[in-house]
Amino acid sequence: MIQFHHVFKRYPGGHEALSDVSFTLPRETMAFLTGHSGAGKSTLLKLVSLIERPTRGQVLVDGVNLGATRRRRIPYIRRRIGMIFQDHRLLYDRTVFDNVALPLVISGYRHQEIARRVRAALDKVGLLGKERLYPVTLSGGEQQRVGIARAVVNKPPLLLADEPTGNLDPALSLEIMHLFEQFNQVGVTVLIATHDLGLVQRLGHPVLTLDHGRLQADARLPEPA
């Protein structure tokens, strides 16, 4: 699903966030991305979602070389990636329902279809009763689940999460991770950046570790091509 070939990322200002990163993440895999603060985890995810472009090397997602993507095509690629953020990035002046519906509205779904899919997504994250509420009235864990519902409502084949449990207590974190496992079980590829090494070890999924921009891939992941 995701392939990196000798990817380098140097930010303007000269800092090299990623150096010669190569790995392959097969379809329908769930994997963790760890490393110290500043190791380049967020940068790697941003390359996949086309928020940043690599300085050198190739990034392929679902067989498509992102380097050849024109700006106009970016939205259509992002629609096939569910993104989850540590700070949720919800619209706080819209209801839970409207937040989750946004990807569907953007893609031009019909009204009835939107309502049906939003309810299904909220049901999956256990927030069905709260669709009329505003995000501020929800707890941190609930807000994160709204973010997850929004990411999966479109049924994207790939989920990227950047420290989705950063602000949550261990029990809630585990709950959220189990949620990701459920999506993975129905065939979604999941890549989660996290600091929480305890959780990573406990869940036992393949791990990609970054150290100062250099990658050590787990033995459970295939050798990069």
Binding site: P75, R89, L90
Partner: protein, 318 residues
């Protein structure tokens, strides 16, 4: 990604669905007037005033033009006959003048007729009755042919008429109309310049309002981009916002102009009656009113488009 934009049955089929989605955004973009009614109305009022000014000036010009239209463009010469000349002799002169090739039409008014007319229209009937003798001269009103209405020919005709022995005075009625027309030409230019400047002001006001709106909704724009919104999708509510500002400003301007006309109509009517004129103030009317709305809407759209073009692409997720 292969088939990234594969069409799915649950989506709107073009173009009906697209129209519906546009309509929904159009309605939704009115939301800003609901969310921030005070500042939105203030902006609309400023736009209304800026649009009402040129519309009002235009209307003044139209009305003056109508006033001038009473004179049908051809000149008219009033030939006043010496008071010592009997009516019969004057009438004979009128008949002779009718034969002149440069004259199209001749109307003769005896001293008595002139007096009657004056009495009817001036409101000085009482004062006239006090006079022993009719103070007014007989008048021959001469309308030259169209060919002889141009300034040089008419000046020559006027000169010839002045040379006639019975003439007391020959006066070209057109002169003030002509002056009025040339003043109006200047007026028209001025209105165009002012309208241009104010249109620019409207453009900038709307552009700036939309720019602020874009800045206020920065987070929303970034989130929308992150989850795959196209530029067109993000642009749409702002463009419609500008359209609404233009339309509402234009409607306010129309209203202001009509109210102003309503306030002026009474006094103008009274003044016109004093001058025995049928003249009455005309309002903006449907077509020019709709034109005003159309121009306002276009300015709104253009203003927001400028803002969107400049500021929207600068907002990218990081």
């Amino acid at each position: 990604m292969a088939g990234a934009d594969r069409r799915q049955p649950a989506r709107h089929s073009l173009p009906g669905g697209l129209v519906l989605s546009h309509l929904r955004t159009l309605i939704a973009s009115l939301g800003v007037f609901y969310r921030t009614p005070f500042s939105s109305l203030m902006t609309s009022a400023v736009l209304g005033i800026a649009l009402a000014l040129p519309a009002g000036l235009y209307l003044i010009l139209v009305n003056i033009q109508q006033l001038g239209a009473g004179w049908d463009g051809t000149a008219r010469i009033s030939l006043f006959i010496k008071r010592s000349v009997p009516d019969a002799e004057a009438a004979q002169l009128a008949r002779r003048l009718r034969q002149w090739p440069e004259i199209a039409q001749v109307t003769f008014r005896t001293r008595a007729q002139a007096l009657e007319e004056f009495r009817r229209h001036s409101g000085f009937a009482g004062a006239l009755r006090a006079l022993k003798e009719n103070p007014l001269p007989a008048v021959i009103i001469i309308q030259p042919t169209r060919r002889h209405s141009e300034p040089r020919a008419i000046a020559a005709l006027l000169e010839r008429l002045r040379q006639l022995p019975l003439t007391a005075r020959a006066q070209l009625d057109l002169q003030w109309v002509k002056r009025l027309f040339s003043i109006m030409e200047i007026g028209q230019r001025a209105v165009h310049v002012i309208a241009g400047l104010l249109a620019l002001a409207v453009l900038l006001i709307i552009g700036n309002t939309i720019r602020l709106d874009i800045q206020n909704r920065r987070d929303e724009i970034i989130i929308a981009k992150l989850i795959g919104a196209t530029d067109a999708f993000i642009r749409r509510p702002f463009l419609y916002g500008g359209l609404w500002y233009g339309l509402i400003g234009g409607a306010l301007a129309w209203l202001m102009v009509e109210v102003a006309i309503g306030l002026l109509a009474g006094p103008v009517q009274r003044l016109a009656t004093l001058y025995a004129s049928q003249f009455s103030l005309t309002g903006l009317g449907l077509l020019p009113g709709l034109t005003l709305l159309g121009i306002a809407a276009l300015l709104g759209l253009a203003g927001s488009w400028l803002a969107v073009r400049r500021h929207l692409s600068a907002i990218e997720p990081t």
